[in-house]
Symmetry: C2
Subunit: 341 residues, 2 copies
DNA sequence: CAGCCTCTTTTCATCGATGTAGATCGGGTC
DNA sequence: GACCCGATCTACATCGATGAAAAGAGGCTG
């Protein structure tokens, strides 16, 4: 920057001012500076700027794993939203581990990013205190509500699972398996979605049959969906509906069903959760719940940006924490029979 | 850091030395420092460290889009490999655009990352010069060989597509469609894979039938696979094999085939490319080419790490650029009939 | 006991930008 | 002509760490 200043015949600070969009600069000066920058091929050193100014224009996104389509697609949505606000995104995969998540929470304090959008998967309620008073803006994504003192963007987990189960009940299914149960107590969305399943059953005077629960403690991957489905089929013999706790599980379950010669949706109707791109092109195309992923990403980034602005201008008082629940949509495709009114 | 130093009764530099693993520190001093760090809840400011030392321990990964399973899974592999070398990764999606890719190439010069693993999708041969003498270590991934002056990790595109086509020919198929053709001249892997397809046909005295080519200029997504397949079927009426230029296209194509009542593999055999997780759980399970994704990630990170080390120790001379071609594997599943010898 | 070596710690300058406060300048006001 | 004002630019300290180099402390050698 000193070189540029020398070449343009101004001070380093003026170069800095040009680059930061400071208004009081004569047009001719600005041009000289820009020319010099061009001629020297100078690029601003972001690190130094962050160190001095305390703001990087980068936000962090902590998710468990990008290979899972839900998170990969979510990451793309967050990136797009961030770009609209002129923010960059540093993605930090946490690998579904507590340590990975705690590590991600420490990153912003090291000042590379200004704030964090965090989708926890391994922390539990006991960790709520970790999320408060972090010293930087945090927006939580996903199922669990840890604390009323942090911004949250979440989805209608219970209602979604209930809508999915209701659909199956509406078309006359009664032996409805649930694929994707987790023993882990941290499994917020599993618990909530299971609750929706149970509520739907109980609202019709039915109760949960333990033998219809398929476990997938190794994670919500397709392989485990197939495995859990197999276990249920081997256990109870027959099933006429499946609620899967996410789309990957559903696709794995459909695979297992079809391998066994069962027809979907005639013999067994299947509903997933998440509306990932795969769901549209599975065979048959999967009926699923769109939890409002795009809305979630947009709202999360917008909340974070507002918090960042709050910090800059001490004028406006800190707003109270927000809890935003995204809109839900049941998308009926071919893995369930049409509902007859 | 000054606070920590004061509390531990040492100089700031000693605290720095403790944190950087400098060997000559008395055990008792180290403990005092660590205790002080703990008591004060101090966290090192990475930004300042980068500014001063010039090394961040962060490498960049530039890929087009994480929502595409291939790139999401690749990103996870790169992250895992980086972790093994104690490196962090900053992911920068380029959105399949030239501007996005040029932007990603500029990022390291701003000094947030030490080097870059870059998977280009929109640059073309004319941009080769952009990739040379960037002033930081660069490792290129993927199909195109831009320049002999840059490290490359690539895959056997031609051979893979040829193996896929050969498999179909071996089981007696002759009307083999190709799904995923691109008009764009930048489409390196499309061109190479098409070449493999053509070579396989010509090796048996067959030639390419233009009507069997399915175009997918909007990107290699499932939707376009289905669309391209539909176009081919509408055009020529009949087909007994499909080579898809990636797995997503293949799954889309299978969807379209089955919607039209065709049986896979009896009526039409299908082969994909990439071996993404989906391929294993599609119905039927997809026969595909594993281009060695894990190996690619590992080798890329390792090459980058070595270049970074080279820069530190000026002792050893710069090694010549490496071109590494990962091992290829044809994975036969259910979308093709077994090969009879 | 001087001289030297190894281990341990400190001093000081520095990485490259920006915040703060103040200098400079031409013109308008009274 | 003195004073003030807004526009424009600059000087200087500073963000928080680390590299280079040297100082201090024992211990060993001859």
């Amino acid at each position: 920057m000193a070189d540029v200043a020398r070449r343009a015949g101004v001070s380093a600070k003026t170069v800095s001012n040009v680059l930061s969009g400071y208004p009081y600069i004569r047009e001719s000066t600005r041009e000289r500076v820009l020319t010099a920058i061009d001629e020297l091929g100078y690029e601003l050193n972001v690190t130094a700027r962050i160190l001095r100014s305390g703001r990087s224009g980068v936000i962090g996104l902590a998710v468990p794993e990008l290979g899972q389509p839900y998170f990969g697609e979510l990451a793309d949505e967050v990136l797009a939203a961030a770009r609209r606000h002129d923010l960059q995104v540093l993605i930090e995969p946490t690998g579904f581990t507590r340590d990975g998540e705690l590590e991600a929470l420490r990153e912003p304090r090291r000042r590379l990013v200004d704030g964090l959008v965090f989708s926890p998967a391994a922390l539990d309620q006991g960790d709520a205190h970790v999320l408060e008073n972090l010293g930087y803006p945090l927006v939580l994504l996903g199922e669990q509500i840890f604390s009323s003192r942090v911004d949250h963007v979440t989805m209608h987990n219970v209602e979604g699972a209930r809508a999915a189960t209701d659909l199956l009940l509406d078309v006359g299914r009664r032996r409805i398996a649930l694929v994707g149960m987790l023993h882990a107590p941290t499994a917020g969305s599993a618990r909530l979605r299971f609750q929706g399943y149970r509520e739907a059953l109980e609202a019709r005077g039915l109760s949960v049959d333990e033998r219809l629960l398929g476990w997938a403690d190794d994670g919500w991957h397709r392989a485990n969906g197939a495995r859990a489905m197999a276990a249920v089929l081997d256990g109870v013999g027959q099933v006429d509906g499946v609620v899967a706790l996410n789309d990957a599980l559903a696709i794995g379950a459909m695979y297992e069903l079809q391998v066994r010669g069962l027809s979907i949706p005639r013999d067994v109707a299947v509903v997933g959760f998440d509306d990932i791109e795969d769901a549209r092109y599975s065979v048959p195309a999967l009926t699923t719940i769109d939890p409002g992923r795009r809305e979630i990403a947009e709202v999360a980034v917008d909340l974070l940006r507002r918090r960042l602005d709050e910090r800059t201008g001490p004028g406006e008082p800190t707003r109270p924490p927000v809890l935003h629940v995204a809109d839900l949509r049941l998308i009926e495709r071919e893995s369930t029979p049409p509902r007859v009114p």
